[in-house]
């Protein structure tokens, strides 16, 4: 038996079959949800009971005094039945809510964890907005399935069945005469709500269009003003606004037609039933009490049907959400702990690439036959244009991707023997414009650090990364929030926060992108010093953009179209004909040009 809060590996238990999947999804709550249905049955029984008691009361107390007990009993009976109905309804809704919320919580947690464990290649090809959309809207559709639709459909069917059986008990022909309109009402409501759903989607679409128009206007306010285009903008907004009005009108017209039309059908059915029933009562086929019970019961088998159509349509739309979520869930996770070499060893940092090739799943090759070696503590500069494979090459080190052919050795062991988790603890990455989280600067610096760190250590690291003074200049210092709700850091500042983080992490291998966004010369020098310090005693891979860091590197790899075209130290490469010498010569030429330029002016 699975308990409510138990973790379930949804990937293992879910399947493409929707209802089976939805059933498995509520493991631990299945009993509870069935309970909710049983409460609905009890509630419906109590409702029928009320009318049957009414029948008894009318026939045996009011029309003839045949009952041998006080009217009090009847009165209390009514109150109790009513209460019972209220309590069971409440219990049913509560159980359904607990199931819906509990199941959704588990689903949310699972998705969250699943997504952060999915592979790099999955994330590379998946649109962020779409993924977020699925995790929010589609999950909510699942929640509504449990909280409203399944239980709601169950309730209406139960109400229908229980009350219909009660009607049959009262009088069979009368009962049969009372459900003539059922298929018609059901058909109309399904037909209408399909249309309503479409109209609603169209309305929502236009809502998004209008929001975009508004947002573009607000964020482009300088352009609007610069061209004095206010009248034009007002016209544009008016057009979109009016379209939304029109679509809203269409949606509402459907509603305003559906309710009265179905009212007429339901009303006609009631009228017909009343006529038949009243005639039966007059001719003595049924008692007056029976007629009254009938009049009360029949309402409950007809009117709820209008909502049945609505719920069926909504549910069928909701089920599509299951398919979309299942697609994410069935993706394979990246096994973080798989590998024989884990925390008990200390990495030195000797790295050998031997005949490494890499291609994506679709077969497109990014790296071809890459071979080089470097000793612990060396700096390797990677040079190449966009798409030359530099980034992919460094992504192989933390095993974001695994090599397709050949092997990478770290300290004489194949990289694939190391667990990913361990490996990533040993490697630090500083990107050109790193992603920061909307938390405090302090939390961003200590993000992902396993050991306890003190405020002093954090400040020390920030000082080494030349960001300490910047942080102190904010009113809330290290507690300053980053992002929309706090300060917006420049690219250079973000990079230095990442450098500070890497100082604390103290990895053996370092991957860094040394290009800095436009900063003034002084800050530039600070960053260079920080980076230089960080590189001490670590094997460093630099995606190089500036001559300085290239010149100091122990090994320079010039990449083109996934291949190494030149390899060596600065001195060695200067001796060779080739790309590298060309680049370097340009630097000297620039200085000559500048001097010439200046002398021309003076």
């Amino acid at each position: 038996m699975i308990s409510k809060n138990q973790y379930i590996d949804l990937k293992k238990v879910l399947s493409e079959k929707r209802f089976q999947g939805l059933w498995m999804l509520m493991s631990g709550y299945q009993g509870e949800y069935m309970g909710a249905m049983i409460y609905q049955i009890l509630s419906a029984l109590a409702k029928s009971g009320t009318y049957l008691l009414l029948e008894y009361f009318v026939d045996n107390f009011l029309l003839a005094q045949t009952a041998g007990f006080s009217v009090w009993v009847i009165a209390i009976g009514f109150v109790l039945l009513f209460l019972f109905q209220g309590i069971t309804t409440f219990l049913s809704q509560r159980a359904a809510a607990e199931t819906a919320e509990g199941t959704t919580r588990r689903l949310r947690d699972y998705l969250y964890d699943h997504i952060q464990h999915l592979t790099f290649s999955y994330h590379a090809k998946t649109d962020t907005g779409d993924l977020v959309q699925r995790c929010t809207s589609d999950v909510d559709a699942i929640r509504r399935f449990y909280a409203d639709q399944a239980i709601g459909i169950g309730r209406i069917i139960i109400l229908f069945l229980v009350n219909f059986i009660a009607l049959l008990k009262l009088n069979v022909p009368l009962a049969l005469y009372s459900v003539i309109v059922v298929p018609i009402v059901l058909f109309i409501s399904i037909y209408f709500f399909q249309k309503v759903t479409k109209a609603y989607e169209a309305y929502q679409e236009q809502d998004a269009v209008l929001s975009t128009t508004l947002q573009e206007n607000l964020s482009g306010v300088r352009v609007v003003k610069a061209f004095a285009r206010q009248p034009y903008e007002i016209d544009k907004f008016k057009r979109d606004n009016f379209e939304k009005y029109k679509r809203g009108k269409k949606l509402n017209t459907l509603h305003s037609l559906f309710w009265p039309i179905s009212d007429i059908f339901c009303g006609a059915q009631l009228l017909f039933g009343y006529y038949i029933g009243a005639r039966m009562a007059i001719s003595g086929v049924i008692t007056v009490g029976t007629y009254m019970a009938y009049a009360g019961l029949v309402v409950w088998i007809i009117y709820p049907l209008r909502n049945l159509g609505r719920m069926i349509v909504q549910m069928s739309n909701g089920l599509v959400s299951y398919d979309r979520l299942y697609k994410i869930i069935k993706e394979n996770r990246e096994p973080l702990d798989q590998g024989s070499i884990t925390s008990h060893v200390k990495v030195k940092g000797d790295i050998v690439f031997s005949h490494v090739s890499f291609h994506y799943e679709d077969g497109s090759e990014v790296l071809h036959d890459i071979s080089f070696e470097c000793k612990a503590g060396m700096a390797i500069a990677l040079l190449g244009s966009t798409g030359s494979g530099k980034t992919t090459l460094v992504n192989l080190l933390p095993r974001f991707y695994d090599v397709s052919e050949g092997a990478i050795m770290l300290d004489d062991s194949d990289l694939r023997l190391y667990s990913r988790r361990f490996l990533r603890e040993q490697i630090g990455i500083v990107e050109q414009e790193p992603f920061l989280f909307s938390r405090s600067i302090y939390e961003n610096i200590t993000f992902g650090i396993k050991e306890k760190v003190t405020q002093e250590q954090v400040e020390e690291a920030a000082k080494m990364a030349a960001i300490h003074d910047v942080i102190l200049s904010f009113p809330q210092g290290y507690k300053t929030l980053v992002g929309e709700r706090g300060v917006t850091l420049s690219g250079g500042q973000k990079q230095r926060v990442a450098i500070a983080r890497t100082f604390i992490k103290d990895p053996r291998v370092l991957i860094l992108d040394d290009s800095t966004s436009s900063v003034d010369a002084e800050t530039e020098a600070h960053i260079q010093t920080a980076i230089h310090q960080l590189m001490q005693n670590r094997t460093t891979f630099i995606i190089a953009h500036r001559v300085q860091s290239i010149m100091k590197a122990d090994l320079i790899l010039v990449l083109d179209k996934g291949k190494i075209i030149q390899k060596g130290t600065h001195q060695e490469l200067l001796q060779q004909e080739g790309v590298y010498r060309n680049i370097f010569e340009i630097q000297t030429k620039i200085e000559e040009d500048l001097q010439e330029e200046l002398s021309r002016a003076s």
Binding site: A75, F90, S219, K249, V288, F435, S602
Partner: protein, 601 residues
């Protein structure tokens, strides 16, 4: 303005409620006729609803118990007529209320948008876009909801309760008094419940948006999370959040579920009373059987109008707070606006002069200090200097996005605040560093500069600015969609399009704020001549990025700390070996490096 000013409060300031109500209703003025029809339809429906229940009594008492089929048929005919008539009134009020609702939404949105167009840049600098958007989308929704469905539900509720009470009194006075006495209790409980439910759902929504934000961050930052191996802690934090979500939404759900049983409990006591009373009375003729049936029906259906009324009352406070925010926005008056006697001089040609101009965004931190300079008609002025020195503010002042706090800006010898805003802004062409495009095609975006421009003019502008080449290479050429805010294009491409847009507007004064900073070197060279032809005979300000443009300027102003630190031609300033000299050499190296590097990123 501090950020927390924009936190939403759901409660309006005290005392203002009545006035706000009046103002809301003044918005409804155009729809009073429709509202009247709607109210009549609601009242009719509500009365008929109560009467139909009364009819079920008549079927029993006058039809069945008396055994008279012709009376029975007569009642049933009436019943049928009522059903059809009621269908008509239901259609009328649902239709009218939705139309009025959509129309009021439309009006409010349009009114806000129109007003927003007149507000100054200072307002936009202080107010987050999201905050404004929420006024236009959410608040209008809430107010419209109040004046339509709110009125509907409360009218229907009140009339339904009143007519039900009327028929109950008609059937039996004493019993009706019992029901009447529990009404206030029902309403009180109803309002308490609804207020509580609303508050709980508000908490749910808040946590929900935190969950969305978490997903967003986790997915966007997945590379960093993997690199730092923080999966476990992340999940723990997220799980705390979903735990909170579970608790509060479960709570919201069961409080909602408790509402009806509670109301039922209260009314079941009344129900028991009715049964007991009728058991005693029927024999002595106090209440008829049909009457008792009707009573039961009235009591059991009483909870629906109660629920509706309570909900409207509970939601009202929020809607009023929304209305208040809407009105605050509408009442905001722009800082920069036309003087009453402002006029259009017909041309902005002529000299431009800054006369001891000072400007600050925040008190005590002036951005421009006593700045004075004069530009002759047709001159090209380059503004250089480090970031934050005040160059962009000077542009903002010339465009009159802001006005000087002290001093004057003269166009052809006259204070420019004497002119109308549109006369100035329609004659200045500005190209901004961060180009902003609107969703739509490239053609539409260029034509933004001149709305009625002919096809060949658009292409000519694009050719002049070097945009034509990349445009024709696209699948749909000039019809290529640029995406929201221009996301489908590179920054360089966007800059070229916004340059073409400005050229097409054929301005008298031309301003380029680092207009081509992201354009690649090759394109830059090809558009150089185009730009020069544009600058000819026009007064031009360039905040330049490229040395070539600066060098050819008639005059260079070096702006430092809101003041002019150096002024002169390229040659003069190089010889001076001051700030400009440093900037120039630094820039030269960077530019050349970029030009020669084979691996330009």
């Amino acid at each position: 303005m501090p950020v927390n000013t924009f936190e939403e409060t759901d409660y309006s300031r005290e005392g203002a409620t009545g006035k706000i109500f009046l103002r809301i209703f003044s918005f409804m003025k155009p729809y009073w006729g429709l509202m009247f029809i709607f109210l009549v339809a609601v009242i009719l429906t509500s009365v008929m609803d109560a009467y139909i229940t009364y009819m079920t009594k008549r079927i029993i008492d006058e039809g069945i118990l008396s055994g008279n089929i012709s009376i029975l048929l007569n009642i049933l005919y009436q019943y049928g007529a009522l059903v059809i008539f009621e269908a008509g009134t239901v259609f009328t009020f649902v239709y009218v209320v939705s139309i009025v609702g959509e129309k009021v939404r439309y009006d409010l949105r349009q009114k806000l948008f129109n007003h927003l167009q007149s507000l100054s840049l200072s307002y936009y600098n202080q107010t987050p876009v999201g905050w404004i958007m929420s006024r236009v989308t959410n608040d209008t929704e809430r107010v419209a909801e109040l004046v339509t469905w709110g009125i509907l539900d409360s009218t229907w509720g009140v009339v339904n309760i009143a007519t039900s009470m009327y028929f109950m009194f008609k059937i039996n006075t004493r019993l009706a008094f019992i029901v009447l006495s529990i009404l206030p209790l029902l309403l009180y409980v109803g309002i308490k419940f609804q207020t509580r439910i609303l508050r709980q759902y508000r908490i749910v929504r808040k946590i929900n948006s935190q969950i969305t934000a978490s997903y967003n961050e986790n997915i966007t930052g997945v590379r960093v999370i993997k690199a730092l191996g923080r999966e476990k802690e992340n999940l723990k934090e997220f799980s705390d959040l979903t735990g909170e979500m579970y608790t509060s939404s479960y709570r919201a759900a069961w409080i909602s579920a408790l509402f009806l049983p509670t109301v039922q409990l209260i009314s079941s006591l009344a129900l028991g009373g009715v049964i007991w009373y009728s058991g005693a009375q029927v024999t002595i003729g106090g209440i008829s059987i049909g009457g008792m049936q009707a009573f039961l029906a009235y009591i059991t259906s009483m909870m629906w109008p109660i629920q509706d009324l309570a909900r409207v009352i509970a939601e009202m406070q929020r809607a009023i707070a929304s209305a208040e925010r809407i009105f605050t926005l509408i009442d905001t008056s722009p800082d920069v606006k036309d003087k009453p006697e402002a006029y259009d001089p017909g041309s902005m040609r002529g000299d431009i002069e800054f006369e001891k101009v000072s400007f600050w965004y925040e008190d005590n931190s002036p951005v421009i200090k006593e700045l004075s300079f004069k530009v002759k008609q047709g001159e090209t002025i380059a503004l250089v200097g480090s970031t934050g020195g005040g160059k962009t503010t000077i542009v903002n002042l010339i465009c009159r996005f802001f006005e000087p706090k002290r001093g004057r800006i003269l166009f052809d010898g006259k204070d420019y605040t004497d002119f109308s805003l549109s006369s100035i802004q329609s004659r200045i062409g500005v190209v901004l560093q961060t180009p902003h495009l609107f969703s739509g095609s490239i053609r539409e975006n260029i034509a933004y500069g001149r709305l009625n421009a002919a096809e060949q003019d658009i292409e000519a502008a694009a050719q002049l600015t070097g945009a034509h080449d990349f445009i024709v290479k696209m699948d749909h050429g000039y019809d290529e969609q640029v995406g929201e805010g221009g996301v489908l294009l590179s920054v360089g491409q966007k800059q070229l399009i916004s340059l073409a847009r400005a050229v097409l507007s054929n301005p008298e004064i031309f301003i380029m704020d680092e207009a081509t900073s992201s354009v690649d070197t090759l394109t830059e060279a090809t558009i150089q001549r185009g730009i020069e032809s544009i600058m000819e005979n026009r007064t031009t300000f360039i905040i330049a990025h490229r040395l070539s443009t600066i060098k050819n300027a008639d005059r260079i102003l070096v702006i430092e700390n809101g003041q002019i630190s150096e002024m002169g031609t390229h040659k003069e300033l190089i010889q001076k070996q001051g700030k400009y000299y440093d900037l120039y050499t630094q820039q030269f190296r960077q530019e050349q490096e970029k030009k020669y590097t084979l691996f330009a990123e």
